[in-house]
């Protein structure tokens, strides 16, 4: 089998180029398999079997409570979002807790209350679980694995796509983007990463930014009904830069992004400037990047805004003229936007 020296580095779990290399070297070759059209090695947001998708995520965010939410809200949003960006409806979830001995029951209760609130909001059945208590300084770690199902909105979306071009997939795939399609982001970026980082000891700017953690299915179900979405991702670890590069690479299309169109709070931009962070690499937990057939782009944008995503914007287009993701400034200068090596903030989700 594969023999490897060395040790695991924090970058190996930080959602950028390093993590991708780590997974391709250490984990995926040992297990690669599929039960439907999506293989483990496709590294899509979920994988599929029969008429279901399946995904898993362990949340280790530090601190466990932050402006706009907690690890509990995150565990429901993050996992249901990985299902929703396949076009599937999140239906079933498991809950596996690792809790540090001595963890406050009151804090645990608050975290679980948020999970209960958001699973109910999504009408998700939480049907199985596990609990371990450890004497390691982990605080709390939560695994939620989730199952999503095919639904009328997804069928409609794919039917609309197929009116315009060949689309061989059963789900909305991150490899599904075609050329001359429109790139939409569903709202303002980088607020989760900035909020969590700002809550950490020793930073705490006077900043009114909350985590954007939110279950995107609550608006995607309407937007899919409009139809024409060929690829989607939720830009978590590694942020918008990572999500765009993944879609570009897997779909074999280049992208042109109009930098000034990327929706972002001024305070988020300022915070990142001061700390030397790239907001395009900061995590989001309630946003979607979608690629849409040109003919449907305006309708999809309208539907996003109607469904409450008022900062949704068309930020660029796909192209076959180059393979890279290119940022274009207002005055027309261009530079390549590479995938981040790693998320600038550790333990962000």
């Amino acid at each position: 089998m594969i023999v490897n020296g060395g040790v695991v580095r924090k970058e190996d779990g930080a959602g950028g180029r390093y993590m991708s290399e780590f997974l391709k070297r250490i984990v995926i070759p040992r297990f690669d398999s599929s039960a439907g059209e999506i293989k483990l090695s496709d590294m899509d947001d979920s994988s599929d079997f029969d008429d279901y998708v399946f995904t898993t995520d362990t949340y280790v965010v530090d601190p466990p409570v932050f402006p706009g939410g907690s690890i509990g809200k995150l565990a429901v949003c993050g996992t249901s979002n990985d299902i929703a960006v396949m076009g599937a409806e999140p239906k079933i979830m498991s809950l596996s807790l690792i809790i540090q001995e001595g963890f406050e029951i009151q804090l645990l209760s608050r975290i679980l209350d948020e999970m209960a609130f958001w699973t109910k909001k999504l009408d998700i059945s939480l049907i199985t679980g596990d609990t371990k208590v450890v004497n390691a300084n982990i605080g709390i770690a939560i695994n939620t694995s989730g199952i999503g199902v095919r639904n009328a909105s997804l069928e409609r979306n794919i039917d609309v796509v197929r009116e315009y071009r060949r689309y061989p997939w059963k789900w909305v795939r991150d490899c599904g983007a075609g050329e001359k399609e429109v790139i939409i982001v569903s709202g303002r970026i980088a607020e989760h990463g900035v909020s969590v980082l700002n809550t950490r000891e020793g930073i705490s700017f006077d900043l009114e930014v909350e985590s954007d953690a939110y279950p995107v299915w609550l608006f995607l179900r309407d937007v899919l009904e409009v139809g024409g979405i060929t690829a989607m991702k939720d830009p978590t670890r590694g942020g918008l830069a990572n999500a765009l590069n993944e879609i570009s690479e897997k779909s074999g299309v280049g992208m042109v992004i109009h930098e000034e169109r990327i929706p972002m709070l001024e305070s988020v931009r300022g915070f990142c400037d001061v700390l030397g962070l790239d907001p395009l690499a900061m995590a989001n937990e309630g946003k979607v990047v979608m690629i849409v057939v040109e003919e449907m782009a305006d309708d999809v944008l309208k539907s996003l805004r109607k469904a409450g995503q008022k900062y949704a914007e068309i930020i660029g287009y796909t192209t076959s003229e180059h393979q890279e993701v290119v940022l274009e400034t207002k005055i027309g200068t261009r530079k390549i936007l590479p995938p981040p090596m790693a998320d600038p903030v550790p333990r962000v989700c």
Copy 2:
């Protein structure tokens, strides 16, 4: 909602009466739901939706490698066993890793190799995953969530049960035992707990005991084909004593267990005696306790032995004469076997 003071104690995650109370007080009331016939509050080994079962488990065993296996083997066996004891065939699995920064790649590789070996052996597709790296002293924690499917052996088993009595369930449930049925354990008990404990720093008796970690589906598929099993559990945290009490309580039947018939290595008995541990409360990771209609018990026992479980034994019977699990000695004296308050060994799975 529920307000709770205090902190989480190690017993709250240790698989006995304390954990059950903790879950019923803190976790289950917030989420209780079902997608099929099994509710979260049933606390069965898996839960169901459509023609599938779903289960989750996070493994935090310390040390991560022990005689007879590793946390990797355990993660495949433990999760597939929770599926198999429902009568379902384990088919799909997710893999979510929490790895401490600085963890040796060589050790990680060995752990993943064992996972790969056993998933292949079981023909399980590992289709989705997640990786987090943390700077907490957790070593490695592995979540595997699994999905199992209905299969011909399960159908046959339930058909046979229904020749003898009413059985309202679609799956083999831990609440399914009837009175005057036969209790079988598939092999020698307590070897996982003893082996892990003996590997810990500062203990290390000169003991030739290996963990019994093993995927029980590999023999259950044949045994179900014989048929007549009304209830099953894999006796992990809290051991045989916990599994018997759970079946007894949920099924509303008492049990009489012939103490001398419980299969156990002499060295395991000696180790437990010296350390003042109850072998009946020690964890197993490759065993099944099953309740079988009387008419089929001998055939099921034969089939277990034929399928390689040569130490399988009939250890007792169910009764409606009392509600407790009662241990009967060779000379006929009786005492109640209560559920353990907690597994005597922490971080055993």
